[in-house]
Symmetry: C2
Amino acid sequence: MLDSTVTTRVQDVLNRLNAALEEGDVQAAAQLFATDSYWRDLVAVSWNLKTVEGPAGVADLLGAQLARTRPGDFRIQPGEMPAEDGGVITAWITFETAVGRGWGLMRLRDDRIWTLLTALQELKGFEENRGPRRPMGAEHGAQKNRLTWKERRAAEEQSLGRDTQPYAVIVGGGQGGIALGARLRQLGVPAIVLDKHERPGDQWRSRYKSLCLHDPIWYDHLPYIKFPDNWPVFTPKDKVGDWLEMYTKVMEIPYWSKSEVKKAAFDEAAGTWTVEVDRDGEAVTLHPTQLIFATGMSGKPNLPSFPGMDSFKGTIQHSSQHKGPDDWAGKKVVVIGSNNSAHDICAALWEGDADVTMVQRSSTHIVRSDSLMEIGLGALYSEEALANGITTEKADMIFASLPYRIMHEFQIPLYDRMRARDADFYAGLEKAGFDLDWGDDGSGLFMKYLRRGSGYYIDVGASQLIIDGKVKLVKGQVDRFEPDAVVLADGTRLPADLVVMATGFGSMNGWAADLISQEVADRVGKVWGLGSDTTKDPGPWEGEQRNMWKPTQVPNLWFMGGNLHQSRHYSLYLALQLKARLEGIETPVYGLQQVHHLR
Amino acid sequence: MLDSTVTTRVQDVLNRLNAALEEGDVQAAAQLFATDSYWRDLVAVSWNLKTVEGPAGVADLLGAQLARTRPGDFRIQPGEMPAEDGGVITAWITFETAVGRGWGLMRLRDDRIWTLLTALQELKGFEENRGPRRPMGAEHGAQKNRLTWKERRAAEEQSLGRDTQPYAVIVGGGQGGIALGARLRQLGVPAIVLDKHERPGDQWRSRYKSLCLHDPIWYDHLPYIKFPDNWPVFTPKDKVGDWLEMYTKVMEIPYWSKSEVKKAAFDEAAGTWTVEVDRDGEAVTLHPTQLIFATGMSGKPNLPSFPGMDSFKGTIQHSSQHKGPDDWAGKKVVVIGSNNSAHDICAALWEGDADVTMVQRSSTHIVRSDSLMEIGLGALYSEEALANGITTEKADMIFASLPYRIMHEFQIPLYDRMRARDADFYAGLEKAGFDLDWGDDGSGLFMKYLRRGSGYYIDVGASQLIIDGKVKLVKGQVDRFEPDAVVLADGTRLPADLVVMATGFGSMNGWAADLISQEVADRVGKVWGLGSDTTKDPGPWEGEQRNMWKPTQVPNLWFMGGNLHQSRHYSLYLALQLKARLEGIETPVYGLQQVHHLR
């Protein structure tokens, strides 16, 4: 197909879409979509993160929103030629709404829209001061008694949270809080990031010493400053910590270290939160309008209780408390769990000459890091992708454009390839008695992450230790602790000096329960998951991550988080939602999700 | 002219050049160059920074170096189409030598080479670990008792300079030392950067409080990590300081703060330097093979002595010691000098309500910042340049490709335009009695910088204060100090509580005199300047900055420095020279410069 013809066909669809939108003809617009089609909107049209399906879904979205948010002026992005491959035409697009400008990706099949991603990028009149709009720094001319940058920063630091109140308070200063903090800073939204640690980056530094990023570096950039190209593919945790600390400083994020939230409550009359903070021993009360929990998917340890734990004479640590093997050479260690942390910790303990046993309680999905990089992420996040012109920003948009409803269909073949490629490896694990799975529908790691945020290990070496019997493997449920051992349901007795509970983390609304109230946590419901009706991701179908980066049923309460990729990408959409509210821009929310599952 | 024809013509010249080089036919190669032509080589062919002129110069260079460094395989850079404009064809090229790979820019006139820039980019077998060659970070697999990144960094820090000796010691940790330190780190050259301040960036933080970068941000990037695009055009000094500190940390540069070199001497027998360091009170002796002074063009204050200074009852500060106006409201301040620092300091003192008088001792070149940005730098370093595809790296190469011999010819018309554009401004200054110049030949600021590194002010507002008489201006030479005043040669008496001596900085070989010996400093000769035989840049013609970033007459002694642009660009060539020597690669130096002018 000639490119010019492809362009004409795309242009024709956009023309018809623009005409229908301009005329307010919802049905005409909806008829441009294929029967099985998906429109994913990030904040632009819906003021929500929302995917609607088919002409009926489109009609519902537009029926509710067209007059309120007025999307239109869809164009082919300048400099980007639409391309056809296998009957699908892909086009980078731009568009506008009444209050903002957006970017997106559209796919056509048989000249109908198959997938459409619309993502708000900036608010008119509130564009970020970047590139041609960057500040001057030195203000030319002279004026009496003006303050320097340093003096203004010091004055702001002195005042914020005391004489002036932040519009937003972000609880938790890991990558999620930092990325959102940077976006809000850029958008001129007064905010404070609160974190209990000594310094930014300690969220990573404080973990077990062998930890490295499990995702490759191309997937992990923060907004505004990319990792330099000498950065390791899998960055060690302390180096990540240093980067986050540096980033917080140079992006001028108002960040309170050693600050723990004790209690938060919404004052309906004032329309603000009352947030009680212990700031390095000093009690400070903040009154933000918006409260964002960025406490981390891996922030709230899940520590099951077993009979006899109290009388155990050794040490019990949750995986988040475990520092590494240094004190455990020659000792007996039992690690309960078989996901990422469990594997990493077992391998490091073996390297440190401990006697290690892993207790596998349920099946685990394992993929080898090399295979995942090459087959799972390589097309979007790799040196090759960059060489092919797939910038991080484009990769994020392509990634976001694949509808969650059908994403597993794209994933299953990738994992089939990994399974074939590493057949010997998997045979070895099975021979060692390891209980493998590939997700309920064989869709592998990424879907597990989106659905439940757990249940997998990206292998960087621990599996071979299990295959070789160097890390011992037992399967079963923990029945009880004895003073010197863990005892399984089948009676297996595992003598232990140290038990590491790699038992995962709870839903983020647990933080709302702890810091606000159980009632408010229950009004939010479960945070994370798509509603896929697979293990640990109960339905009904939501089609987006539950309660993440978007309005919840509790006004002015938000959840931010996820891996570095999600922190980078979704921080923009949450920041724009907050900025719009600060500026009094109308933000009519379409399809606010119902509450499902309280934990 | 059709592009394909232009490409053919370039290809033809390159074919003939490659053939001549391959056959060792120096004369045939030289005849490809125009009568008035310039070949600037950065380390690739000459193992020096060197510009030769005309066929005879080319023949001399190749006669000496062709068999030794074997340049060849000149090609049009993939993806870069040669272009013709005004009778000049410009082509991005690549080439190789026996030991390295290079990048360059060639201009043809009438199918002869008019200008050729050849710049070594990497050494074969010693390529930097970046992009596709970046390290893995996590080492997959398991091995007993391996160290983490943090543990390895700590061990290195513990050992370097004690149990293991650095190959190179860099004296001075401003942007020059930091940029070189980063390059050496990447190239695996063991080095230590020594700096007397508390922390990296204090070189900037410690200056007068109103200081901002005078060059715009696009010109100021460091290697490896560019400033983010929210960074101010003219970055305030404390923000620059924070960036340098962050950069030093995340680039893992071995940097000793609070460390002052007391003495250095070369041990001929051992072939190493003995460098005595006071490291925060502890005496440490280092034995590097290479010693690099990166003490800064603005590192060695030039403090003239006037009769009566000893009995002056007020305060005398060199501009480098002056912190700003905070203690001087309502006081009388005399600022001696009329270049950048003098103007900045006067303006800030006026803003801080001091009574300020500037003493102009000689004419000064002034350009308005806006005009300089737009007319002087905009084509290469600006948002527009970036939008036109002129990356920082390309801009640096284009800049480097203009031969110093004829650079003023390109500069004069730019400054003519600025003079016309800002005619009212200059008329106002002249009316106020300010003594203006445009450089000896009207070539303006950048040539002044290259020739003498002084004699100008980039106006960001102080000039208007002089025009308006808010900063008082007197002209003349200082004759003497009295206890409460500065007295000029014409008898003018300037009462003063504070005298700021904005009297500039000395040649960098002064540092060699202080720390090594006068004899060694004299063997090096003057550092900086082109030999243009203009004011403060005595001849003979050198054609490159004297003694900067290249071999000096003193083996194993080097000078690094300049503004942020030069620190970024030339650090590569100095780093490659050091790396080659570390690895025992032959580095036959062509045309080692003669010594001229001892100070």
